[in-house]
């Protein structure tokens, strides 16, 4: 199998809440737009039923409607390709290219004449947003005379459409009402400058429009085609309203925003309202089924929550939870064979890449989410680091509340997976394990959980070893995690942590110095530094199996490998390391560079096992990566990418792994990178892609050299021969002075 076959395979992620979810007419199914596909889910079971895939381009608008008296689904891509599927048979029945460029929005106009298929399309034309009614079958479009000037992209526009009668557009603090069959006239209304519209929706049958704005008001517009519209204000939200939605008959409506509360309003009485508080994340869209039985609420954590008409949650459509950050990285959990990573605020998610499903989230912090206030951003506690022990029994989490003004919080929690109850159980919670935040955390890789150790690396220039100890008080017995030792080195910042494969040794990077310690005694074993390496060390990693004596240390500019038996530098390579990941099943390690190259090497030699410069070129920045053993991990005859898969998550919140197979994933349009331009320049051509130097003659650099030794040697050379003592007397002291002196002052 050629190495060229190696590609990226999509494993989850990507937003499903960019567009409003749409119900089928019977309320049984819900359609969700995901990149270039429309996914059909069952509203009852929240399980995937079908994927409608049109083209490679992302979908900009889609709708469910009756076409030739059959329920159909229409989708329009950014390039103007419109596809219609019959939802009963899943057959594609129409595919047309509409003659409009720079399309911004697309919605289907439900025309009375069912054979017709018309869509309302908005598009950019010379800095102005224009609207046109497209007859998709005939490929003819008729423009509306009115247009909106969009100076900058900071203000979005919102479009609402009501059947085949009229549509309305909100932009900044202005709202426009246009009749669909009247291309010339429109009415317009302005609200105060301080408020900006954030959403709009139209009544399904009457001339009533709802808008939401940044001040949290929901305004009902009536009599919209007169010069003086009637406004009614429904004000409960304090934060911007993100979504409003009428019920089918229009007698009540829902609104939601950044408070994570869904509000159900009675249209004729602004005092009668019902709330559904503490929805997991900020509300983005709301959609009501035609028979009012279900409500779909899209939330910012990439979930579509299905509620029944009592506002009880009955279903959840969610794959990879998109959190705000993935600081804790990707961690492989051997027990569930899932990836552990940040999820919702204060939660960690267990995502199974094998079957691309979210297993569950675990609420680590155990606190309600505090939403922002109008003029104040509220800081919540975030999980910043996680670690899983080799057996999967212990889970360590670090949570932090980074308050820029007031006192911040930092907590280290040790969870034990209770095999009896099949749930995690909090064992120890430690306040302020370090003075400042925790940078890294790892368990000692032991297959036996008694007297397990865990190491945390802090911003306070120290690392701390935690140990599982028995504790017996007068009242009870159990196990508890306690601090066993603190290590520091010359008041230098520490970064990078790794355990040797048997757990007997650990390596910590201190600034540019790589140090090795025994975790059992918290003693410094050796410190290694190359005088020409000035960069701070970012990663240290021990080799595996027969290369367990090798220690790889990587800084922003260099990757070097040390031999711990001889304490000398084996080889060093200048490479801009962004991520260094080790494969637990082989001796290989993968390097992802800052200019998006992938290298795979074995610490024993600088020869590359695999390299690819184009694989990630078109991708967003890789945030975290890890190797996950595949189903066939025991078959040693397989290639590296078949035995364990290098999974990574990029800044677009998409999860991929590197392997062979047909690349079915969608690659966004290439965004030109500065780095690429640099490489195409004349100077760029002069620099090789990878510098490899084999520095074997560079061993045994002292940490410090006492000039005393030099002096004795000089004395020996300069003294006249006849005055010298016999060689057998001077020999010992002279040779001794040549021996490397270990730095003992810092142990």
């Amino acid at each position: 199998m050629a190495e060229e076959d190696v590609t990226l395979i999509f494993k989850g992620g990507g937003s499903i809440v960019g567009h409003k979810p749409i119900f089928s007419s019977d309320g049984e199914n819900v359609y969700v737009c995901w990149k270039n596909k429309i996914l059909e889910y069952s509203a009852k079971t929240s399980k995937l039923l079908y994927e409608y895939e049109g083209s490679k381009d992302p979908i900009i608008g889609y709708d469910y409607f009756l076409y030739d008296s059959f329920p159909c689904l229409a989708a329009c891509t950014t390039t103007g390709k419109v596809t219609i599927w019959k939802t009963v048979t899943y057959y594609k029945i129409l595919e047309k290219q509409i003659p409009v460029k720079q399309i911004k929005d697309f919605s289907v106009v439900a025309w009375e004449n069912e054979g017709d298929f018309k869509g309302l399309v908005s598009f950019m034309y010379k800095n102005r947003l224009k609207f046109t009614l497209v007859d998709v079958k005939k490929c003819v479009s008729k423009d509306y005379s009115f247009s909106i000037k969009l100076e900058d992209q900071t203000h979005k526009h919102y479009i609402g459409i009501s059947g085949s009668k009229y549509f309305s557009v909100a932009h900044r603090n202005e709202v426009y009402f246009v009749r669909l069959n009247d291309r010339e006239n429109y009415t317009k209304c302005k609200i105060q400058d301080s408020r900006t519209f954030t959403c709009i929706t139209c009544h399904p049958s009457e001339e009533v429009v709802l808008t939401g704005d940044t001040s949290g008001r929901v305004v009902v517009w009536q009599d919209i085609f007169s010069t003086k519209q009637i406004q009614t204000v429904f004000h409960w939200h304090t934060l911007p309203v993100r979504a409003v939605c009428f019920s089918t008959s229009g007698s009540y409506f829902y609104s939601g925003g950044e408070e994570c509360v869904l509000v159900k309003w009675q249209f004729h009485d602004s005092y009668e309202k019902k709330f559904l508080p503490r929805i997991g994340a900020e509300i983005e869209h709301i959609s009501v089924a035609d028979n009012n039985t279900c409500v779909a609420v899209s939330t910012r954590d990439n979930a579509v929550r299905i509620l029944d008409n009592q506002m009880d949650q009955i279903g959840l459509i969610q794959h990879l939870v998109l959190g705000k950050q993935y600081e804790s990285g990707l961690i492989y959990d051997p027990r569930t064979k899932a990836l552990v990573m940040n999820g919702n605020q204060g939660h960690i998610q267990f995502y199974s890449p094998h079957d691309m499903c979210l297993l569950y989230s675990v609420d680590v912090v155990g606190r309600n989410k505090i939403t922002n206030e109008r003029d104040c951003v509220m800081e919540n506690i975030e999980v910043t680091k996680t670690a899983v022990s080799r057996t999967g029994v212990w889970l360590a989490t670090v949570e932090e509340r980074r308050d820029p003004v007031y006192h911040s919080e930092l907590r280290l929690k040790f969870w034990k997976f209770s095999s009896e109850q099949q749930r995690f159980e909090l064992n120890t919670s430690i306040e302020y394990p370090h003075d400042k935040s925790v940078k890294n955390i790892q368990f000692q890789p032991m297959s036996n959980d008694d007297s397990l150790r865990c190491v945390t690396l802090g911003d306070d220039k120290k690392f701390r070893i935690w140990q599982l100890v028995d504790f017996t008080t007068v009242y009870k017995t159990g196990v508890v995690w306690k601090s066993f030792g603190v290590g520091f080195y010359r008041d230098l910042n520490c970064c990078g942590l790794s355990f040797s494969v048997d757990g007997s040794l650990m390596a910590v990077g201190f600034d540019k110095i790589t140090t090795a310690w025994t975790p059992d005694l918290c003693e410094l074993k050796c410190s290694l530094v190359h005088p020409s390496h000035k960069e701070k060390i970012k990663y240290v990693k021990f080799g595996y199996s027969n290369q367990c004596h090798l220690l790889v240390s990587a800084s922003a500019l260099q990757l070097s490998v040390w031999n711990l038996l001889t304490l000398c530098l084996l080889w060093t390579v200048p490479v801009r390391v962004e991520l260094l990941v080790e494969d637990p099943l082989s001796t290989y390690m993968a390097v992802l560079t800052s200019n998006k190259k992938v290298f795979l090497f074995s610490p024993i030699s600088p020869d590359l096992v695999y390299s690819n410069e184009h694989l990630l070129k078109k991708h967003a920045k890789v945030i975290a990566a890890t190797f996950v053993p595949s189903k066939y991990s025991n078959d040693a005859g397989l290639k590296w990418f078949e035995r364990s898969h290098l999974h990574f998550i990029d800044s677009n919140n998409e999860l991929y792994y590197i392997s062979t197979g047909s690349s079915t994933e969608f690659i966004p349009d290439l965004v030109e990178d500065v780095l690429e331009n640099e490489e195409k320049s004349a100077f760029g051509k002069m620099t090789p892609k990878l510098h490899l130097t084999r520095e074997q003659g560079e061993p045994k650099k002292h940490l410090f050299k006492k000039d005393v030794n030099e002096r004795t040697f000089k004395k020996f050379l300069e003294a006249p021969i006849h005055t010298m003592a016999p060689v057998r007397f001077t020999c010992y002291s002279l040779l001794k002075s040549f021996i490397i002196q270990k730095d003992k002052t810092n142990t």
Partner: protein
């Protein structure tokens, strides 16, 4: 037979089961959640007897690429894994197709025979074979009708198995028949079971020319393995079990050895490892037996067994087991250790566990946070040195016991309790580990009483006392102060005793760690104190100035003299106050 009424889906993600009351229950084994319960409206009149997973229509194309390991075939992952469907056979001769993704019946196929369908099997999920009384039925799922029907013999067919890649099926009653489907003729008859065969499974170790199948019957406590290719009519291998078979999972490892995991009626799992190659006369015993029990904690001797309902291989070493009752099942991945003959797992009885329905919908798991959590800060979290675990329970040597005894006696003899010491009470408290006694003693802050008490303490109680004091020092202000006071006196009085103790470091380590971390604040505290005193002195200075002037202001001035200097100084004072 119940063996046809439970099955894992091919990828192991779902487990489906027809309960005795005729309901279909579906569990998600990966996230360990009870997904669906389907009660057919016919479950009382014509209950379902057997079920079989079939991939859903749209997933079929991707399936063929997924099966083979990368060695055999270029593997292709499908875009997304789809939920499978389930076919159900009922006693009235109806075949149902149930979709897990929409939680409803997709279609019903009527055989118009009203014979009870006893077993189902399919390979390509297109043609489904089933046994009904003495007949063999062939259904087409796509055309939604019964295609063919022929008589399979004089006995009731209890099990059927479709063989991949060729048009052959196996049907079983007491003996097992290999059929050519196109010609409808019996190719071979395998005999060996003494009662009705209720379980058949196909095994393919690596190459397609070696094909085997496994069978189990409702009366024999063994599994038989037969070769499909050789003309051997007898079983190639037999596997012993403690009860009759319920469900079997087969995993062919990379080296060609076959791992078998069999659940039996009594609720344990037997794991066998064998390389299928030629005939073996001796029946195999299980390499490992898995068992789940619940420890109710009520008695020391007995534990209640929890029944394992099903098992499937996740990979070469990992098994997923589902245990519990028909109503509540828990699924768990476990590593099989080959060296233990019996692997017994202690689990909480699923019946006593509560699962919040809301959490299941939200896909969140709330971890257990109960009273046993240790809340520590840096003050309280340090331990001295490495605590090497001693092998067993430490026996107190006789010498020490005698020591305790004599000391007590001596104290008892001179027992004239004095008001200025509380040694006797303290010793009592430490011996009986009584929290109240200890408190009454230790909360005395009187310096002389403490000193006198410490002086009179026997050496043996020092260590438990220091351990108790460690907790005090870890605590908040008052208890920490008290702890320090006591410790100070102990160190002053018994320094020599403590120095000779080899475990001193371990003993004082926690205290030292706590003191150290408390001292880190000393420097900033001093600094703050210095600054504050500077500030206070300044403020009080200006205040006294003010008060001096205040006296002047309160009194009616005798003379108002417009002087520029004084107005200026007034102005300044106000400024300072701001």
């Amino acid at each position: 037979s119940r063996t046809m009424a439970l099955q894992f889906s091919k990828d192991g993600k779902y487990f489906a089961f027809i309960s005795t009351d005729g309901k279909l229950k579906v569990w998600d084994t990966v996230s360990n959640s009870f997904e669906q319960e389907f009660t057919p409206d016919f479950h009382l009149t014509s209950p379902c007897t057997c079920l079989h997973f079939v991939p859903s229509e749209t997933a079929k194309k991707a399936l063929e690429f997924q099966e083979a390991s990368p060695r055999k075939k270029k593997r292709r992952e499908s875009v997304s894994n789809r939920t499978p469907n389930i076919i159900l056979g009922s006693t009235s001769g109806l075949l149902f197709l149930y979709s897990i993704s929409s939680a409803s019946l997709e279609c019903t196929i009527n055989s118009h025979t009203s014979q009870p369908i006893s077993c189902l099997s399919t390979v390509d999920s297109e043609s489904v074979y089933s046994g009904a009384d003495q007949d063999i039925l062939l259904w087409s799922l796509q055309k939604q009708k019964l295609l063919q029907k022929w008589k399979g013999g004089n006995e009731k067919i209890t099990s059927v198995l479709a063989i991949p890649d060729n048009n052959q099926i196996l049907t079983a009653s007491k003996s097992i028949k290999l059929w050519d489907v196109d010609a409808k003729e019996v190719l071979q008859v395998f005999t060996g079971h003494s009662s009705d065969v209720i379980f058949l499974q196909y095994v393919n170790p690596r190459r397609s020319e070696d094909a085997y199948f496994i069978s189990g019957s409702k009366g024999d406590r063994l599994l038989s393995c037969w070769s499909l290719n050789s003309n051997n009519k007898n079983a190639v291998a037999n596997f012993l079990m403690e009860d009759i078979v319920q469900n079997v999972s087969v995993n062919v490892a990379g080296d060609g050895s076959t791992n078998l995991a069999a659940t039996v009626r009594s609720g344990v799992v037997h794991v066998y490892c064998h390389t299928l190659n030629g005939k073996c006369n001796k029946p195999f015993k299980p390499k490992t037996t898995l068992q789940v029990v619940s420890d109710t904690g009520q008695s020391n001797e007995t534990v209640t067994p929890i029944r394992i309902m099903g098992v499937i291989y996740r990979d070469d070493e990992t098994l997923c087991i589902g245990y519990g009752t028909e109503i509540i099942l828990t699924f768990e991945n476990i590593e099989v250790s080959a060296y233990k003959k019996v692997q017994c797992l202690v689990r909480k009885d699923p019946r006593t566990q509560s699962v919040s329905k809301e959490n299941q919908v939200l896909k969140t798991q709330s971890p257990i946070v109960n009273d046993s959590v240790q809340y520590l800060s840096l003050n309280t979290s340090s331990v001295g040195t490495v605590k090497r675990k001693s092998g067993g329970a430490v026996e107190i040597p006789m010498e020490k016991r005698l020591e305790n005894l004599t000391l007590n006696k001596v104290d008892g003899a001179s027992a004239v309790p004095k008001a200025d010491n509380m040694a006797q009470l303290l010793i009592q408290g430490l011996h009986s580990k009584d929290r109240d006694i200890l408190r009454t003693v230790l909360y005395r802050k009187d310096d002389t009483v403490v000193r006198n008490t410490v002086k009179r303490l026997p050496v043996t109680v020092l260590i438990p006392l220091i351990q108790e004091l460690t907790h005090f020092i870890h605590g908040k202000t008052l208890s920490s102060q008290i702890g320090c006071l006591w410790l100070k006196h102990i160190l002053q009085v018994h320094a020599s005793m403590l120095m000779s103790n080899p475990e001193l470091q371990e003993l004082l380590g926690p205290v030292l760690g706590s003191i150290e971390s408390r001292l880190t604040l000393l420097t900033p505290l001093h600094r703050l104190k210095g600054r504050l005193s500077l500030l206070v002195s300044q403020v009080s200075g200006s205040n006294s100035n003010n008060s001096l002037q205040g006296v002047d202001e309160n009194e009616e001035p005798l003379l108002i003299f417009d002087d520029k200097d004084s107005s200026e100084s007034d102005y300044e004072d106000v400024d300072i106050n701001k």
